[in-house]
Amino acid sequence: MTRFWAEGQAINTSVDQDDCPIEFAWRGRHRVAEVVETWVVDDGWWHLRKYRTYYKLATETGLLVIIFRNNVDGAWFLQRVYD
């Protein structure tokens, strides 16, 4: 079953020179095999700004996930793990 966290689970992530994730830690380490899609959201500024860059990733460990970087403070979060 797909798991989803609206505000995300904090994760440690390594990035390449373009700030693109190459590896993250969530119940073990996961190297990125493919960046399937990226997109940016900047919304909600009138109460709580959500300025995030999302990455839909396939990992070498066989996971399909969505993680995002909070562009305000640079922190990384796991938001969705597909079944």
Binding site: T38, W39, D43, W45, W46, H47, T53
Partner: protein, 1002 residues
Amino acid sequence: MFAHLHTHSYYSLLDGVSSPEALVRQAARLKMPALALTDHNAVYGVMAFVAAARAHGIKPAVGAEMTLDDGSHLTLLVENDVGWSNLCSLITIAQANAPKGEAALPERELETHATGLIALSGCRKGKIAQAVLANRLSEARDVAVRYRDWFGHSNFVIELQHHQLPQDSRLSARLVALAQSLDLAYVATNNVHYARREEHELQDVVVCIRTHTTLDTSYHVRRPNSEYYLKSHGEMASLFKQYPQAIRATEHLAERCDFTPAFGVQDLPESALADGVSAISHLKTRCEIALSSKPGDRDEEMRALLNHELAVIEHARLANYFLLVADIVAFARSCAIRCQGRGSAANSLVAYLLNISPVDPLTHNLVFERFLSEERVSVPDIDIDFDAARREEVIQYVYEKYGRDHAAMACTFVTYRRRGSVRDVGKALGLSPHLVEDALLAIELDRPLPTSSPYARELVRLSEALKGHPRHLGIHNGGMIITGAPLAQRLPTEPATMEGRTVVQWDKEALEEAGIVKIDILGLRMLSAIDEAARSVEATTGQTLDLDRLPMDDPALYKMMERADTIGVFQVESRAQAQTLPRLKPKTFNDVIVSISLIRPGPVQGNMVHPYLARRRGSEPVVYPHPRLEAALEETLGVILFQEQVLKVARDLAGFTPGQGELLRRALGAKHSTEAIEKLREEFVAGAQQQDVMEHVAQAVFDSLTAFGGYSFPKSHAAAFAVLVYQSAYLKHYHPAAFLTAILNHQPMGFWTPAVVANDARRHGIAVLGVDVNKSQARCTVEGGSIRLGFSYVQSIGESLGQRIETARQDSAFRTLADFAHRTRIPPRLLTRLILVGAFDSWERNRRKVLWEARRLMGENALGLTFDDEQLDFTPLTPLEEFTLEARYVGITTGPHLMTHFQSWMKSRGIRGSRGLARLRSGTRVEVAGEVVMHQSPPTAKGFHFITLEDSAGMMNVIVRPRVYKRYKSVLRRAPLLWVSGVVERDEGVINILCDRASFVG
């Protein structure tokens, strides 16, 4: 180098949020070589954009993003003149094909209007992108082929956008593949809606305003992120690093867009003339004939001037323009529609001879070059005032004569002011109405806006940012554009809200910038009032007034002006004029010209008024800021009064050419031109120094020009207006009942309320008679030397119901209340109102009794009486009750002045009225009371407030210092009747009371 080719300014109304100038400034910061402006279905901002781009050394490309009738978008860029005509036609068609504020272009129109346009396939809402996103690839290909065939292989380009949205990369890849398969070029754009990223918040807000949603409920219509800004070359190159060609193509395309709008008199329709007769020879003949009919001993002088003017007019190819205007004026006069030219056109003898202007320029020492010279950079406007009540007849004449495809009105942009922006931003933020009302109240009371909560702070920040942004389109007061070729080929039009009217997509400033000739067909209520008064005099006395041939030397009229007995008189009735006229003591027509030019924001802000008056009475020497300025300022005793003097000062002190002077004059009058003014200051000071003028003198003179601003009259305009001052003063002096009746019939106009006008009539011995069912007409009338109020003055009755009452009475007078109700079929609510204001008083003075009868007529028995009511006794209304009802429902009272009801109260406290005030010495302490009829605090007055109190004998001027105002603010703002303590100040017949304490009366 990258150039943005898909950019929306705030002229994409309630979608874009940056001005064209702000976009250009940002593009310049980013060192962009070119920039395109592509607002939604409009070219509103093109002229401002082109001017800003030129000033910043950026190549401008113009175009629009069109909305097709299936809702899809297509970006069009203008390559050349033909392309501009086609774009204008397409916008006109799209705008006419949808409700106001929307556009829907039938796709087939593209085929016949494609020449000279470069089409980009559009944003995600483009037909091709939509088909690709929906995986309908063959449909995308079909559309691309169709557009390629219509626009041409090199003029149809696939548009790529990347806003960091899901699928953007995939969409770009597929679009590039499509382009490659058809051998089409592709180009990167960013669908810019704001110059800088941080402005996305305001963009979210305007989208909510446009869609009547709030930020919390508008996710589906707002953009999901803040990527729609003017990105740098680096940012765009990074987004499209797989497609460097898409970046390179931008500059190449911008280079090809080689069009900037420029028009001129050649676009006017040709006047119909006999074969072989040119416009200039026809104009010459007409002027010669008119000249020969003018009496006087200056024939030679006039002839020389006429020849000079005609030569300049011929050189400027403006003969046809004069003939067109003369034709419109001739039409009006043939229908007895009163009219006259205003503005700088009154400098022209030709305009005078053609009956366009009422002012003989030789008599008033006016100079033609101020209207038109060989060096003048722009085409002059001829503005004409028409009787406001009949202006529509003139507009319809122009439509009929030239056709609706060739004539339209200029538009205006209704921009956000503080209250409107607070209200709309408040709604978008989803704030509760009471929070918004608190903010609006704070604005009204001139308090800082509340910033206690984060939402309130957002309200303040965003509403400030929205101020000045265009919200929607309006119709210019009277500016008409007439073209020989169909208008749609010159500039786009769109339907206006008012039925039967179309507007062009440029406002006055843009039209001027593009050299498009505009004829201002303005409505002036004073002309209506003068016309009505003259007719009324003729109808009641048999005397025909030839107001256009009055000798302008009647001492009685100048004395009346000196007494400031000018309520109702054009331009000289205001409080400020009443303070000036007794000091100015006008004796000649020229003094009237000066008087109306003095009380303008320019001379007031530039501190010209007091020096002028002091110099005129000899209590201050006439001095000039520099000897070089003596010639320019001699006629106005060393101060700047007239607009033309700005040009002369710039010429004589800084060596400006007429073109530079004109630029300076415009910049001084423009709203947001600080940058332009500072640039001109440098040129001015440098020019002055070259003529050996000390820098500090040049700076000081430029400062006074800046303070003067553009808010002043040209002398010729003041001279034309002074004619109306004189005519209206003549009517007030010799035919006051007819004149003041006409003034009451053409409200709103002038400075004072109708109640003050009526009180003024009474002070001149003219009775003001109440509304009477058997004597009143729809409008006010003169009745045996008195003023009879018309039905239209009764709230909610209006002119049409008033006329219905008149018609019902045509055969015989109303005999009873039942007869009146039956014949007029007036709604019971309005019958009651007529009773309450005394319209049946001539039958029965006791209004309560009439009211009871009316209720019986309506079948009401409000008290549930079980006995015959014939014997009922009704207490009549008290005078104060009658006064209150008239004040509420008519706005003008017919009994004694309100203050007479407080006479004994005033007497018991030693409070004075206006009578006898004139005899008091300066410095005398007084207590006065009166009805507040005017409260002003002009921005030029530095916090001072001016209050006018009235009683039956006259007016009293009260001046409130800022400190005193602060203390008594709540009384001064709210009291309808005011009791003021203060000190008398006298100065040359002007009496003011300097207030130090204020309270409510009673």
